[in-house]
């Protein structure tokens, strides 16, 4: 894999994780447990979709095969998506929605913090803007983890269940592959070992305050999202997200 290919892969991973989580959160429109939470979820979705656009536009320039950002989002199938498995998991119980957000936000925050200093100026520029937004996302999701975890007996049970359900998807966030190593070597991506320590450190800290128990570091983990091997949920999500542009390819306004 050339460095150029690794960079394209890496940009698609960032963009795809943003857009898929943005789509998941958008499903809460009209369905969130409280109006304030609907506003918050969709605001976070909006930030993520905006960040995704910035990453996609750069990726499209590098790929340079005539596809633009919309094309990459609406006309690729599941096996071409490079998002983390975590973000495609369904909303389910609201504790799951929040825990998923929290696990992602911690990863996102530390990743973006490193990308701000990327040797690639375009990446540094996009990250400098995104990291400010991700900081607010993490503030919110970590507060909810604490409030639910250290809340009533029922809310505690649900947050612990959410941790247990989603823990098997956390390994992918902090297990580097050749693309991650190549990006670190190129002075772009975070130091994989540092990212892992930062992620585990903050997750354990917040979990302790929330009185929930995170899973074991050596637990068996689902991986493959970054290579295009996804859980069954992604196809269903794409079917909804891509329906309109696929059914009406010449639609320009909706």
């Amino acid at each position: 894999m050339t460095q150029q290919q690794a960079l394209q892969e890496y940009l698609l991973r960032l963009a795809d994780s943003d857009i898929i989580l943005g789509q998941r959160l958008s499903e809460l429109v009209g369905k969130a447990p409280a109006l304030e939470e609907e506003l918050a979820s969709t605001n976070v979705a909006l930030d993520l979709i905006g960040q995704a656009r910035n990453w996609y536009e750069y990726a499209a320039e590098l790929i340079n095969d005539g596809r633009d950002a919309d094309n990459l989002v609406f006309l690729r199938d599941a096996h071409e998506y490079r998002n983390l498995l975590m973000v495609e998991q369904p909303n389910e119980d609201y504790a799951v929605t929040i825990a998923r957000q929290f696990f992602f936000d911690v990863w996102h925050y530390f990743t973006l913090k490193a990308l701000v200093n990327a040797s690639d100026e375009r990446i540094a520029t996009i990250a400098a803007k995104a990291v400010k937004e991700a900081t607010y996302h993490l503030r919110r999701s970590s507060e909810w983890v604490k409030r639910m975890g250290d809340g009533t007996e029922e809310s505690h049970r649900r947050m612990q269940d959410a941790f247990d359900i989603l823990w098997r998807f956390t390994g992918e966030l902090i297990t580097p592959d050749e693309v991650d190593h190549a990006m670190f070597k190129a002075g772009i991506g975070p130091d994989p070992e540092q990212l892992k320590q930062d992620w585990l450190g903050m997750v354990r800290e917040v979990a302790a305050q929330a009185t929930v128990t995170p899973g074991a570091e050596d637990a068996w983990m689902y991986m493959g999202g970054k290579r295009g091997e996804h859980t069954e949920h992604l196809g269903h999500l794409l079917a909804v997200m891509q329906f309109l542009p696929r059914a009406y390819p010449d639609a320009t306004t909706w």
Partner: protein, 185 residues
Amino acid sequence: MIEREPSSVDILIASDRVPANARPELLTEEAIWELLDNVKDPEVPAVSVVELGIIRRVDWDGKHLTIDVTPTYSGCPATELIEELVVEAMRAAGIRDPQINRVLTPAWTTDWITEEGREKLRAFGIAPPKGNASKMSLLGVDEVIACPLCGSEHTERISEFGSTACKALYRCLDCREPFDYFKCI
């Protein structure tokens, strides 16, 4: 005939027209900034795009105009509309082909909101950003936000996100009114 103030709808309809008698070459760069100061943020119409600090640069040589605009948030849905409103305002002044440059760096910060802008936000019922954006804490305690309506500092945050991504939702525990807080970023 009933006289009325032109509404934003009229401006939109007239957008492609450049007044025939306009003399844009007489405009100074300062005058361009004044024109921009009349363009309101569509989501927070209390402040202009200049007061919000999103106009980063104006380059005008009497013929060619380039304006650098930076979005507040990556996903701000008003970005395109703001750019259109800026173009329309320039066309209305007779400048035919203003160029809008979208810049991401340096990233917008609430520190760029002018003093006047902050005062207008407060008068509009939105608590202006407090403190310095660089000192925003990740997991720490929040600043005390004064109620923009009664001034009380006895307030509490309801949600980190309000009606738009740039605002949080607060409530005053004295006058009991809910209000928006323009977040530090």
